[in-house]
């Protein structure tokens, strides 16, 4: 417990201690929210998805488009992003909860690609490959403007991350959360003890989509831009890597994996993007073949010795 408090205090302290890194910092916090949403359905409910970025992107475009068309109030924009993503998640969930692993993988991938293509085609609305420009945000609470140094962005993202984390912690500790783990372990047995498996998964998937939408909306608001890659397969794949790197099913794994990956990416990809991609691939292969469990499980194992 004390370790947890220290963790969050440290995250908050970064606002004071690293004023030069707040833009990267808030980006990390935002992707951590995205990763947490994936942990809910992958780490806890066991659904492998390659299309989660669809909801991230939907949230981003919703918040972005609202701002472009005059509605720059951040909090309501964020709520709208969550709502749109939730509706999409709810609709998509009916496809995702049926079928086995492979079909599900394809469906999630397909939905992501579908949305990417749609955003591309509807360039007159979304800006297509060039991205959505002109996202001008109003002041947060009418007081805090979004500055270039990222101070407002970091604080804003930090609070949202903390709130999302607390929500997910409550959910995963609840009977519903236990049921999700049961579904991950053995969906057939869950049905045999009376659990309406699909209904639970629909609920989880919708919640995860909403949170991903919040993350996307945050990104749009804090960077005042929406790139089409926010919907892309690359983003879904990278998110998967971040989550697995940190350790699934632990919530903190999502945050730590994101931080480690993004810092590494920021440092290494800048030097030589081809090197980064190669060693990332190599790391993945090595990770799967050798290192089971992710960062948090290594820490756990070391602590037990």
């Amino acid at each position: 417990m004390k370790l947890e408090i220290a963790f969050w205090v440290a995250l908050a302290a970064a606002w004071f201690l690293f004023p030069g890194y707040l833009v990267l910092g808030s980006h990390i916090l935002i992707v951590a929210i995205f990763a947490l949403s994936l942990d809910l359905i992958l780490g806890y409910a066991g659904i492998v998805t390659l299309g989660h970025a669809a909801f991230f992107g939907l949230g981003a475009y919703t918040a972005g488009l609202l701002a472009v068309h005059g509605w720059g109030e951040p909090l309501s924009g964020l709520a709208a992003a969550a709502a749109v993503a939730a509706i999409a998640g709810f609709a998509a969930s009916f496809l995702v909860v049926r079928g086995e692993d492979l079909t599900r993988l394809m469906v999630t991938m397909g939905i992501g690609l579908l949305l990417y293509e749609a955003a591309n085609r509807a360039a007159f609305v979304t800006g297509g490959v060039d991205g959505l420009q002109g996202v001008t945000m109003g002041k947060l609470f009418g007081v805090f403007g979004f500055d270039l140094a990222g101070k407002t962005a970091y604080a804003y993202s930090f609070v949202v991350l903390l709130l999302v984390f607390l929500l997910l912690r409550a959910v995963t500790r609840s009977p519903f959360g236990l049921a999700l783990r049961g579904i991950r372990e053995n969906p057939q047995r869950m049905a045999a003890i009376g659990v309406p498996v699909r209904r639970r998964l629909v609920a989880a998937y919708t919640l995860a989509a909403a949170i991903a939408g919040i993350a996307g909306g945050l990104l749009a608001q804090t960077t005042q831009f929406v790139g089409i890659d926010s919907l892309g397969f690359q983003r879904s794949a990278e998110l998967l890597i971040m989550l697995v790197l940190g350790g699934t099913g632990r919530l903190y794994g999502a945050i730590i994996g994101t931080a480690v990956f993004m810092v590494a990416q920021d440092q290494l990809a800048r030097v030589n993007p081809v090197y980064w991609e190669f060693w990332l691939g190599f790391g993945l292969v090595a990770f799967v073949l050798l290192a089971r469990g992710g960062i948090l499980s290594w820490v756990e194992r070391a602590a037990h010795r």
């Binding site: 992958l42 390659l50 496809l95 692993d101 492979l102 579908l114 998967l240 090197y275 991609e277 292969v285």
Partner: protein, 284 residues
Amino acid sequence: MFGVLFDGIAYGSLLFIVSLGLSVTMGLMNFVNLAHGAFAMAGGYVAVVAMTRLGIPFLAALPLAFVATALAGAILERTLYRRLYGASHLDQVLFSIGLTFMAIAGATWIFGPGQQPVRLPEFLRGQWNVAGVDIGVYRLFLIVTVFALTGLLALLVERTRFGARVRASVDDARVARGTGIDVDRVFSITFALGSGLAGLGGALGIDVLGLDPTFPFKFMVFFLLVVVVGGAGNVAGTLAAALILGVLDVAGKYYVPQVGAFVIYAAMVLLLIAFPAGVFGRRR
């Protein structure tokens, strides 16, 4: 309309020859190999190197692409893939994505990020006019080649002992092992063959699909699509799915260009809703 149909079938045959290996891998070993597109890409680059650096003519470069990629597949299967047959699909996805990243980085490093131009031999260029319709010679060549290959493969599968072992293993690996078939060896060989075919498809497809380091991620979706719709391990289903999807994609881009690839993805999602186990079902 015939032109669209023809182009669609040409595209579909290309999809088929590449996807076949993936279908067997998924059907036989239940392994999700997202790196399959990278094998196709590798074959393409082998052909390019053969033609530009070694001066080998196009028609000879094709079997070379096949052999080189088959070899690569065999080695990778023995050393790496084999260890993950029992692993979760998530692990397999991560592993194969990792391999793909490595392949893409390698390709970018060696060949640069641009498209590889290919100079087709004279007799494969241009168009013939058949019954009033213009037919691309190369596309005709594609269809004929794939057709011939499919026939060869069918012979292999139906008439040889090896083919019988493959069929038995796809049908039920456990039972096949019980009758003394070395399923692991069957699989190594089929994996190598499948990768080789992918490489051949990649080389054949340079003119139609293009070749650059983003090839794997660009086209992996289509290969997966073909396999999932056609049913993993179901060869006839894969062929049908490939042809249908090829025609649908070309027709979509021709008749409703503003919608483009959207048609394919939408069709896929709809098909998967209706047939969660693939349109033609899994393994017959």
